[in-house]
């Protein structure tokens, strides 16, 4: 190494390892800074400040759990949590089930598989803003689906999820699943391709129908891929923000508010930083609740293997 570390003099007898590859440490500095300053430092800062009286500016006056009490008695936050729970559950189940069905269908030696794959995955390359705006247009009651079906003679047909508080989440799901299901399908398809061919021979010899083999043999084999897809979808759902802004902006009323939007609006719209910090800390907590069981599962799996 030509680079000499000025801090550590190369004293005789000293283990060479202490000053080995200083260049590598410099190269890893961005990673170390990101990990320590941003991921740990900023998160801790926010969690700590969620216990303060911060309003327009961050304050250091601690008020215990006041912000959390306020948060959990705010109607909008409660609606946000309920919405994300419903959206999350439906999105998770739907994208795993439909994603798996699509993957299985694509795995039947279909012609033009590449074209099908390209089509189901292309929405994933688009921005949530683009997705939200397109669906806003399709679901527009005066021009979109409702208008067209009425034109076919069904005069009383109503399909206006964007302006109905009871069904607005369905609109978000239509758009969100349009964008995300393809990814799940492709992940599961890749995993299906790794399944041993002999399983199919064996099940045919035993006379087991294909669908039974899929449910009882293939799905258990694909467990790692399902776990990956689940973690991917779940962490994505917690962050759900852009799509809501573009498609409904939280409306009608507060019917499609989401936690991430609550955080943004509290911090940058209402100058109520304390609420933003408390709400984002709750988001962090929910991610940890997803991640820790998964990490334990992964760790155990590795230990055994």
């Amino acid at each position: 190494m030509s680079v000499i570390d000025p801090v550590a003099p190369r004293a005789a007898g000293r283990p060479k390892k202490l000053i080995a590859n200083p260049m590598a440490k410099i190269a890893a500095l961005p990673m170390i800074m990101t990990a320590l300053v941003i991921f740990i430092g900023c998160s801790v800062w926010t969690v700590v400040h969620s216990f303060t009286k911060s309003k327009l500016l961050p304050s250091s006056q601690f008020v215990g759990f006041d912000q959390y009490e306020r948060l959990w008695s705010t109607r909008r936050w409660l609606a946000s949590v309920e919405n994300i729970a419903i959206y999350g559950l439906v999105a998770l189940v739907f994208s795993l089930v439909v994603g798996f069905v699509i993957a299985v269908l694509l795995d039947q030696k279909v012609r033009a598989e590449g074209a099908f794959r390209t089509i189901i995955l292309f929405p994933y390359s688009l921005s949530f803003i683009v997705t939200g705006l397109v669906w806003q247009w399709i679901l527009n009651p005066d021009f979109g689906i409702q208008y067209i079906v009425r034109g076919w003679g069904f005069e009383n047909f109503t399909f206006d999820p964007l302006h109905n508080p009871d069904t607005v989440l369905a609109a978000l799901l239509m758009a969100g699943l349009w964008q995300g299901t393809g990814l799940v399908a492709v992940i599961l398809l890749a995993a299906l391709r790794g399944v041993d061919e002999d399983i199919w021979k064996a099940s045919r010899v035993d006379g087991v129908p294909a669908w039974k083999t899929y449910i009882w043999v293939v799905i258990p084999i694909l467990r790692p891929a399902f776990v990956t897809a689940t973690v991917l979808i779940a962490t994505g759902i917690v962050k759900l923000y852009d799509l809501v802004v573009a498609l409904t902006n939280g409306g009608p009323g507060i019917a499609s508010e989401m936690p991430a939007k609550y955080v943004y609006d509290a911090m940058f719209g209402k100058q109520n930083l304390g609420q933003g910090f408390a709400a984002s800390t709750m988001m962090l907590l929910s991610v940890l609740l997803i991640l820790i069981p998964w990490a334990i599962f992964e760790f155990r799996g590795k230990k055994r293997g």
Partner: protein
């Protein structure tokens, strides 16, 4: 963490179905398979089709007719208007401003984040030091922390270093949040290369940078392409960071698009809105269509990103 190697090798095997063997003759289940797939594809293509058709119609035709029908009279006026005249607030210079802002944000963000992460991945594989794996673990774990937890402290940091509202501040943010996935991508790739190469170069007297630039980089063009695809689409599609860390004059395209379409003032020009939406989506869409399997490889690695 997630078993990337498995997803990886599997994604290379995407050709050649391994599922239940189909029967030779055209059976009912065969027809069902194609039927369902076609319905699904219809659902996927529909929005793209609607977007395209609406953007090629004049406003009278949009008001009159079916959003799914192709235009009777094709006009490119909505595209021109979206590009050069659409209004956000008082500015009426169209989406072109947001486009160029996005270009100015995306190019340095992509380049810097890839350089930083590739060197970092290389250091992690070939120049391990005490604690390097711990920091990498924290980095990967950090990929799962909701951005909302970190956005405000970052505002303070950017303000302190004088980059708040500046394009370079946003570049820094994109570099930071691109670190976990890109480092993982490069680390895994470099680890898959034979170690003898590295050892031979060291014996020949090559140093840290010499080995990196003369041995590893020339061998790693595919992974650099994958990283580039991942970053260009990711950064181009970003909305949250753009809206927080830049000023209205410097808003990226996604933010400006949302402001144009969801503005409450004025008469809604749906054809212009759809043209603007399509123009914004065109960049990642083109990259997706051109890159094919490399895109899939990027997101297969992104399985850890969340």
């Amino acid at each position: 963490m997630v078993d990337i190697s498995q997803t990886y090798s599997a994604s290379r095997r995407l050709d050649g179905a391994a599922g239940a063997r189909p029967k030779r003759r055209i059976s009912a289940s065969r027809i069902m398979t194609y039927g369902i797939l076609c319905v699904i594809c219809f659902y996927y293509i529909l929005p793209l089709w609607v977007m395209m058709m609406t953007s090629l119609k004049g406003m009278p035709e949009v008001r009159m007719g079916n959003i799914f029908a192709p235009p009777v009279e094709i006009t490119f006026e909505p595209w021109v208007k979206a590009w050069s005249q659409a209004c956000t607030g008082l500015n009426c210079d169209g989406l072109s401003r947001g486009f160029w802002n996005s270009v100015k944000i995306t190019i340095p963000s992509v380049l810097i984040s890839i350089v930083v992460a590739s060197v970092n991945g290389y250091a992690l594989v070939n120049w391990k030091f005490k604690g390097s794996e711990i920091f990498f673990g924290i980095l990967l774990f950090g990929a799962f922390i909701p951005y909302q937890v970190m956005i405000y402290p970052i505002v303070i940091i950017l303000r302190e270093i004088g980059l708040m509202g500046d394009v370079w501040g946003l570049v820094l943010v994109h570099t930071i949040f691109g670190m976990p996935i890109l480092t993982l991508l490069f680390r895994n790739y470099f680890a898959s290369l034979p170690e003898e190469l590295f050892k031979a170069a060291r014996v020949d007297g090559a140093g840290f940078w010499g080995i990196f630039f003369q041995v590893l980089v020339p061998m790693s063009l595919p992974i650099f392409t994958v990283a580039m695809i991942l970053q260009v689409t990711g950064i181009w599609n970003d909305f949250l960071f753009g809206v927080i860390y830049t000023k209205p004059e410097a808003y990226p395209m996604t933010v400006q698009l949302n402001n144009i379409v969801n503005s409450v003032q004025g008469v809604k020009e749906y054809n212009v809105n759809m043209a603007a939406t399509l123009i914004t989506g065109l960049v990642p869409l083109t990259i997706y269509l051109l890159s094919g399997k490399l895109f899939v490889r990027g997101i297969a690695a992104g399985a850890v990103k969340g």
